[in-house]
Assembly symmetry: C2
Homo-oligomer: 459 residues x 2
């Protein structure tokens, strides 16, 4: 092959005029509704009023809506246009390196100001809060992708933004914190002495490394009693997944533009589920309607496999037990995952909507250990030119597995995945991998069993 | 103003089919040619053969061509398409924060895989070298933008890539080095013990912080004697500026799409001159042809002001005196600038083409100290949502100066600038600024005078 033929790019773009103007609500199309959230005190189904101390009414109504499509406000579309429609790439150069007959496509969300898919929901959340007169948002963040996105969104609407960052990440990734501060966010190491729940953890262990569950408890504790402050969550909840469906809606249009009738496999990484839900729900709609039949596969880290090793039960979203109880796949709300580099996937639970779909058999799940993920990521970087965040390396590794299986079988499968963020702030992870200082997770069934004992017995 | 009206985005995109397919060569339109480069030994004008140990013939011919337009090879266009055409943004939210009647536009090059404008030339340089059968490229890098771009480009074409990184940056910015390594580049701290010029510097000072001039000497020394190795430069030379003109060509089309007849002011940061030349040359063509009359303004750092404090004279491109002599604005080839955060602007000389244009009075230049630059950058980040690299903060500060002058005068000027890269690897600089640990450069006229004494007396 000549040098003129070896390097090809296939970027499938949409014009701004083709950008979807509504989010897709999969609740409208499910064969059965997911179990309701329960009030943590009464164990009765939680109503809109129970969520009012935490969220503005527009978001609460989206959380429970069964409308199939929900209009994206014009002002939100106007911000989306800074980086949307995001590109869909055909991974020609990766395919060539693998020698596979499969066609691999990836939807790239790293083009957003925060470098990930998170602004897709941070912007509407900040918008609805600002519209409701809220002055400040609180939130948690792990690796910092979500905190960065919310700090960006708050800067747009003049909201203050207080972010509790998981202590281990706060210590290890100072650049992430600085990015949030550059956007004007205020970052607190969690557990902090600013909250009762934080102080309780610090009393037990002054150098506590924190967890997403603890950081959520702190952010919720500060928001709930203050009428000018609300809380924002970056994943898990229905309205968050709703906002992310713009990813899949665009991908549907782009695949058609590329001349593909349908993907054979759709694969995405799952932490709380917002990236995976955002990509897959519009394709699930098409599948439910009989218009296509892709395999839909979630990929979780071996160290935090809520779908493949957790139980499907009511559990708290946070460590202190302040949130409503949600029916979800959970490892137990006091499960503290090993400090793997994919900080965004270190959450004990899975979005109730994804959990419900999994129970219905509408999708499958696997887990992959991190060495395979980083090997895939380096191959991806050197062929496709984009350095993935540690989270989507799981999806890339799964896509490569399938592409290599196609090489064996000769099948020309169409594989679609989401590259939900770049890894510019995660180079310490690449350092560890490239210089032989990374190991696979080792986690015993006993440890899972112990954590699962924290799942409350409900009903 | 309601919340629905406060946040606007105006992104002016081009379709791939509108992407320019040739680079613009300003040598074709100059009223007088720039003085030739001189052979460092004979002091005679250097011919193509003198450059052959360092560059492939395709690039040498571009260096001296007087053709007005040079076709971009299809294979290079195919790679450009991964991120090009790059977006032009109207800075509505910044304008609103400033309260200015000016209209500010910025061309954003941070969307490239390396995060800056550098791949615009790294890709064709790697392409022409690969086509000529070269197996390895050597280069220098300061902050690391150029090294990252070349490592990316070399990965595409299967070339080895050896990068000498200025010691101070190598020590301070390990993430940049890791990014180059993730792309497969080999990074050496400069001065290194791999070269005679490096060893000479280390003998004088074992912990030498290095400089771009020293790193160039090392990369040239390794490339010149090896028939399978060539050298690549990220700025300064004619062919490098040529490749960057795609920025300005696209911006011309995009401004017209936005309904603007012409910019009143075009402003860009200048280190070696490739970003500034790339943006401004197509506009200079229009100006020379009488079709518009923008003021064209270069902005350099107060610590390394080659245009505003240097002399226009023949000088070496590197510290050891191995390169041809170029007529340029120079602070003296042994000038070591203070370690400001805009590492990409710390070069003792200015591109001969830019220097010539400056002498002809076709553009003007100012210098700005770094505190003003970072204040501008933080305001930009919190309004426009993009964190600039330290280099383009100079251009942003100058654009804001002009916009505030318009606020006084009431003029509705059209200001165009280039945001040539994001600052994801430069957050230590933002840390210093946000936390009060940054000071303005202090540099005495005596120090400039002393460095200028290293400029050789020629002719």
């Amino acid at each position: 092959m000549s040098i003129d033929e070896t390097v090809r790019t296939h970027k499938i773009t949409l014009d701004e005029s083709e950008m979807p103007t509504s989010w897709y609500n999969i609740l409208a199309d499910l064969p059965s509704p997911p179990p309701p959230a329960l009030h943590p005190g009464t164990l009765e189904p939680a109503g809109p009023d129970d969520f009012a101390p935490l969220f503005p009414m527009d978001l609460i109504l989206q959380e429970v809506s069964t409308d199939r499509f929900i209009d994206i406000p014009g002002a939100v579309l106007d911000v989306y246009r800074q980086w949307r429609p995001s590109p869909l790439f055909r991974a020609h150069r990766l395919e060539q390196a693998l020698g596979t007959p499969a066609r691999i496509y990836y939807k790239y969300e790293g083009v957003s100001p925060a470098g990930s898919h998170k602004p897709n929901t941070a912007v509407p959340q900040a918008y609805y809060n600002a519209k409701a007169g809220v002055k400040r948002l609180t939130t948690e963040t792990g690796a910092g992708q979500w905190g960065t996105a919310l700090a960006f969104a708050c800067a747009l609407y003049g909201l203050d933004c207080d972010i509790w960052q998981v202590g281990a990440s706060y210590d290890q990734k100072p650049y992430r914190r600085l990015m949030m501060e550059a956007f004007g966010g205020k970052v607190h190491r969690s557990p902090s002495d600013l909250t009762a729940s934080g102080r309780a953890q610090l009393a037990e262990r002054p150098d506590h490394p924190g967890s997403l569950g603890i950081a959520i408890s702190e952010a919720v504790e500060v928001a709930a009693p203050d009428p000018e402050t609300r809380y924002a969550l970056g994943s898990v909840l229905n309205h968050v997944l709703l906002h992310q469906t713009i990813i899949g809606e665009e991908a549907l249009l782009q695949l058609a533009k590329a001349g593909e009738t349908a993907p054979d496999l759709l694969v995405g990484c799952t932490g709380g589920g917002s990236n995976f839900g955002g990509l897959s729900f519009p394709f699930l709609r098409e599948k439910l309607a009989g218009r296509m039949d892709p395999v839909i596969r979630a990929v979780e880290p071996a160290s935090c496999p809520s779908l493949t090793k957790g139980v499907y039960a009511y559990d708290f979203g946070d460590t202190a037990g302040m949130t409503p109880l949600m029916k979800m796949h959970t490892l137990g709300h006091d499960f503290i995952p090993d400090p793997i580099h994919a900080g965004g996937l270190r959450y004990h639970g899975m979005a109730p909507l994804i959990s419900h779909l999994y129970e219905l058999g509408m999708m499958e799940a696997i887990s992959i250990p991190q060495l395979e993920c980083f090997a895939a990521a380096v191959q991806f970087t050197r062929t496709e030119g984009i350095l993935p965040a540690p989270e989507p390396t799981h999806a890339i590794a799964a896509a490569i597995r399938e592409a290599l299986a196609c090489k064996e079988s000769g099948e020309e499968k169409v594989i679609l995945t989401a590259l939900c963020g770049h890894g510019h702030f995660d180079l310490a992870a690449y350092d560890a991998y490239l210089n032989g200082r990374m190991a696979d997770e080792e986690i015993t069934d006993e440890r899972f069993a112990q954590a699962l004992s924290s799942v409350p017995v409900v009903g």
